[in-house]
């Protein structure tokens, strides 16, 4: 299978939507390509798990079609779709050993013994499970069990897509790193389509080639981690991506300058005048907002946070709270300081949507 197409897929639990509010998932068009890793990122209730379940067949969408290549699979049962799913908590068969767990899907499809053994050994090696192959699956740690869950999905050679539903939720933070890099390595090795649902942006950005940021049932922006970080198309993306999220300040935009609470900022492009009555905001990420002792916009420093490898200053510009990075050279910070914004990384948002300006 080379791609999965979502053609106007929408879903309202309960069947009869009367208004847009009733949709858990609003109409969506998208093409997922084989070999790519996608992340569905968004807060609870944004519709990401619903979308995942529609693709895997656990939920039949109330509207739209789902196509695997050109085949309409909207109503095809899960068993017959060539997908595998890894859930939030490890799903393993308690009574079987690790090897038997991995062999289970192949046994159900009546593959010959030798082929099953070969495949199990291969996948076990890929997931570092070889040493525990003959142990009872029940007694292993949570991360080993998740690897077994994953292995059961990968062991079928006809699987063309693997879906992950927040799989690292029960894993110890120290082991999350290992498991994440393992997932990425597996992705590289097997050229599968992988769709990963999470509310943790680090997980999404480190895992995926493309991230679908979702909110309230809608796909707000789809792009590479770089796109989402450097050019958030919607204020929600600016807020949700990045820790802390983007600084958003109401402003008045005049050509290549912006006025925030009386202070003047330089913009990286020339912007047309926004129509009256629309909300205009300036967005700059804290990574591009620097505290300075010399030039810049005056701010009040409320708090300084030391994060080890970087320091952040929580300041207020006029009445607006923003977060700035503290350059390593700066040693003492008083109550008053100045903040410098990088004009090239300053974005203008009109009614929450990003506006591009002309080159100056």
């Amino acid at each position: 299978m080379a791609q999965i197409t979502l053609d106007g897929i929408a879903h309202a639990y309960g069947g009869k939507p009367r208004s847009e509010q009733d949709y858990a998932l609003k109409p969506l068009h998208h093409v997922w390509e084989q070999g790519m890793a996608y992340a569905l990122l968004g807060p609870s209730g944004c519709g990401k798990t619903t979308l995942l379940n529609i693709i895997s067949g656990l939920v039949i969408p109330s509207e739209g079609r789902l196509l695997f290549d050109d085949k309409d699979v909207t109503h095809l049962p899960t068993k017959e779709r060539n997908i595998a799913q890894v859930f939030q908590f490890p799903v393993i068969y308690d009574t079987m050993t690790v090897a038997e767990n991995l062999a289970f899907p192949l046994k159900n499809r009546k593959l010959p013994r030798a082929a099953i053994e070969r495949r199990v050994t291969e996948i076990a090696a890929m997931l570092d499970l070889t040493s525990v192959l003959n142990r009872r699956a029940r007694g292993l740690t949570a991360d080993a069990k998740q690897k077994i869950s994953l292995g059961r999905g990968l062991v079928r050679s006809d699987v063309s897509a693997v879906l992950f539903d927040e799989p690292l939720t029960v894993i110890d933070p120290a082991l999350k790193w290992e498991l994440r890099s393992k997932l990425k390595a597996v992705h590289r090795a097997l050229d599968l389509l992988m769709i990963y649902v999470t509310h943790d942006q680090i997980e999404a950005l480190t895992f995926a080639d493309r991230v679908v940021v979702m909110n309230d049932g809608k796909a707000v922006q789809i792009g590479t981690p770089d796109d989402l970080f450097e050019r958030p198309e919607h204020t929600f993306v600016g807020y949700f991506i990045g820790s802390p999220g983007m600084n958003l300040m109401p402003a008045k935009v005049l050509g290549s300058r912006a006025l925030v609470d009386g202070a003047e900022l330089q913009l990286g492009a020339v912007y047309p005048e926004p129509p009256k009555g629309q909300r205009v905001q300036i967005g700059v990420r804290p990574e591009y907002t620097e505290l300075s002792s010399m030039a810049g916009v005056p701010v009040q420093v409320r708090r300084v946070a030391d994060l080890g490898r970087k320091r952040l200053a929580y300041v207020t510009l006029g009445g607006q709270p923003i977060v700035a990075t503290i350059p390593p050279e700066m040693s003492s910070i008083g109550d008053q300081a100045k903040v410098v914004f990088d004009p090239a990384r300053t974005h203008v948002y009109v009614d929450d949507i990003r506006v591009t300006g002309a080159a100056p």
């Binding site: 656990l58 799913q85 859930f87 159900n108 949570a142 999905g153």
Partner: protein, 296 residues
């Protein structure tokens, strides 16, 4: 030494219960112990007998020993037969009850009805039910040409008691199994679907292992109840024909109240009690072992 912080006021709440348990349980048990080591017919004549009753009881060559042995064997056989039928049947029915929807409530109530009927009423219902002339069950079986006579044929008597118990108590297994099944997260069924597992495979690999603890409880409860069975055989067959359905409790009552042989009866009931206690202890150990092994 340093236990939980102690709050003495709590003991006041427990006192009434303690008094009640003392009068309804402990004192009667001590009376029985007293009987079991004396030779008595009640009232005020007590002759010390030491452990003679116990030795006789546990020696199959004595009259009383043989009788006890037979009754014990019968009761154990009965428990086994009932368990073998009720456990699989209960699970099978529980699997058929839907997981969601309005039908669930209705089904559970209908299923639970047999358990709600007072036990001697159950006995009386079946007593009439099994009569060859006016009882539906009895008439139907004889009509089919089967030789069925509760009062005279040991096999009919046994079958009837077993059927009564199955009808009466399988609902307990059904309800416990259903609760256990509902506790299995959906994700397991979804994963099994994706793995292409057949219904049998799902049952053996997911449902049965997850029902382990529930099944241990169900088996324990059913064993204890069948081991102590009294009312139904008493009302329906009276322990007959002959001694075909004379289970331990029925025999015990015959000796204690019929023959007023309180010494023997006392010894017998203590031994009976100890057997039940031992079985409970075995099950408890199994359950704690299962808990200790744990799962995700």
């Amino acid at each position: 030494m340093n236990g939980k912080p102690i709050n003495n006021r709590a003991w006041l709440f427990v006192l009434p219960v303690l008094a009640f348990v003392l009068f309804s349980s402990i004192i009667p048990v001590m009376t029985v112990v007293n009987y079991s080591i004396q030779d008595t017919m009640g009232v005020n004549n007590f002759f010390w007998n030491g452990d003679a009753w116990f030795r006789d009881l546990l020696n199959p060559s004595t009259a009383i020993g043989a009788r006890f042995n037979d009754a014990l064997f019968r009761t154990l056989a009965f428990s086994l037969v009932c368990l073998v039928i009720e456990a699989p049947l209960g699970i099978a029915i529980a699997l058929c009850i839907p997981r969601t929807g309005w039908l669930v409530g209705l089904t559970l109530v209908v299923v639970a009805l047999p358990m709600l009927i007072p036990w001697n009423v159950v006995g009386t219902i079946w007593q009439i039910f099994t009569r060859a002339d006016i009882g539906l069950f009895g008439a139907a079986l004889t009509g089919l040409g089967l030789h069925y006579n509760v009062t005279q044929d040991p096999i009919s008597a046994w079958t009837t008691i077993v059927v009564i118990d199955v009808w009466h108590w399988t609902p307990l297994v059904i309800l416990l199994s259903y609760a256990g099944l509902r506790a299995i997260p959906d994700a397991f069924y979804q994963a099994a679907q994706i793995d292409g597992a057949s219904r049998w495979a799902i049952f053996f690999n997911i449902e049965l292992p997850k029902l382990q603890k529930v099944l241990v409880i169900a088996v324990l409860l059913r064993f204890m109840q069948t081991f102590m069975i009294y009312t139904e055989p008493f009302v329906v067959t009276g322990g007959g024909p002959g001694s075909a359905t004379t289970f331990l409790s029925i025999d015990l009552v015959k000796i204690a109240l019929g023959q007023v042989d309180l010494g023997n009866a006392g010894a017998m009931s203590l031994v009976y009690y100890l057997i039940t206690l031992t079985v409970c202890w075995i099950f408890f150990t199994i359950m704690t072992q299962l808990e200790r092994r744990g799962d995700v």
